[in-house]
Amino acid sequence: MIQFSDVTTWIHQLLSSCMAPWLVFLIELVVAAVAAVVALLVCVIIMVYMERKVAGHMQLRHGPNRVGWHGLCQLFADIIKLLLKESFTPTRADKLLFTVAPVLSLCVSLLALAPISWGPGLVLWNTNIGVLFVTAISSMGVIGILMAGWSSNNKYALLGAMRSGAQIVSYELSAGLSIVTIVALAGTLNTGGIIESQANGWWVLKGHLPAIFAFIIYIIASTAECNRAPFDLAEAESELTAGYHTEYSGMQFGIFYLNEYINMGVVAMIASTLFLGGWQPFYLPFDFPLAHAFNDIMALKFMETWPAWISWVSLAWPLVWFFGKLFLIIFFMMWFRWTFPRLRIDQLLKLEWKYLLPLSIVNLVIVALFIVLGLHF
């Protein structure tokens, strides 16, 4: 079976044979970063189309259906429109911060991609503090939002940014605690290590009820961290026009829009890494012959005897699972967005401080007991 590490080592050796080590390092950095960003941008394109179709169908509409087949080219038309529009800066705005804010928030959300494991051996930065890094970086995103809101010199923008700050600071806690439950179960902070610990069943199945509970809490808290409905108080169209990006237009607005979807993608990647086994295929943790056969098929055991040129296909198998889970969680988040009405600010804070936080602390204690007593699989 060919692994991704074989491919990357081959590329590394090829480059090393004809270049200086520092140049190889530089080229590999750029190629890896561009590959990750392009993969994410393709995901974002699919997500935007998906969002509009899901929204349409859940609200008994068609969604985009005029530009191209079933509206497939609608997004490209929108991007061209945004690129052609002027990026207007208000006269009284703080010009430097106003220009920096979208770029900063984009950088922060792209940084969170670094420790994500896309496939076996396919990781930009294989660090043993991967999950910690992602949680640290994702709470930096609020700085870009605050900067945008404050520098636009607009009351709506400022209010939206402040709400966003309060919201992200609150929901970081329960998101972090539900991440900690899985980190405790897996015993590592390395994303690749967490995924490998799920080779004999995903944590959401192996960890009994507390893991499922942590999964639900994580989905709720991460939706809030992405500032998406039903927690979109930072935008709150009906109250604050567009919240923190009220004054932005053209591609600067486009970057904020892109940023929202990149954040969603990152959050979904973390959720699939922690709870749904990342790139691991589905595994039944039972001791029946049928379950064994199923697991062998899922792990592509039958391909081992095949000629090498066909087994190249098996390289795509972990990616199929990774992106499949990614889009499953993104679909969940879209499903919530187009079903639930928006919360008021007091309801939002009540949900976090009176329900999610105490419940996730109790949940963490129960998981700790499970680990001590060895009750999990």
């Binding site: 899901v54 169908h57 859940m58 609200q59 008994l60 509409r61 068609h62 499903w335 919530f336 187009w338 079903t339 639930f340 329900y355 419940l359």
Partner: protein, 167 residues
Amino acid sequence: MKALYNYLKEVAFAFVSLANGLLLTLKYFVTPWKSIITENYPDNRDHPSVADEFAGEVILIHDENNEHKCTACTLCQMACPNNSIQIISKQVETEDGKKKKVLDQWVYHLEMCTFCKQCIDACPQDAIKMINSYELSCFDRSTLTKVLNRPGSKLKEKAKVTPKVQE
């Protein structure tokens, strides 16, 4: 203990009620051919589906004998909030020599009508109604002023009320 029970009950109930909503939208999502209510308007022009209750324009009801029920009482004209109805009546002499006011022209200014249905409510004879027509716009404003009573139409005779035979 009671408080803890109530707290957990609240959480469980919240999940149940949220799940109800989620199932409904999921049903809409997976069966779009059944649930979508948007009309693909210019595409389905040859087979439109417009609700009967849709208020398009006012018509004066004529029966097969080209008779209508309008007595030219002008109640609709008075009910109209923006003067889009003009009732022009004339005096005619009936066979038995009496002078009677009858409808000459029922002028309807569609360009001013807001489709509020107050004329329909005001009419004591149920002589007018609104039909579900659409695509009412045109290039020449004057074509929107319509005379609703057809040429040669006349007032429908009231069914003879048989006088109660005194016994």
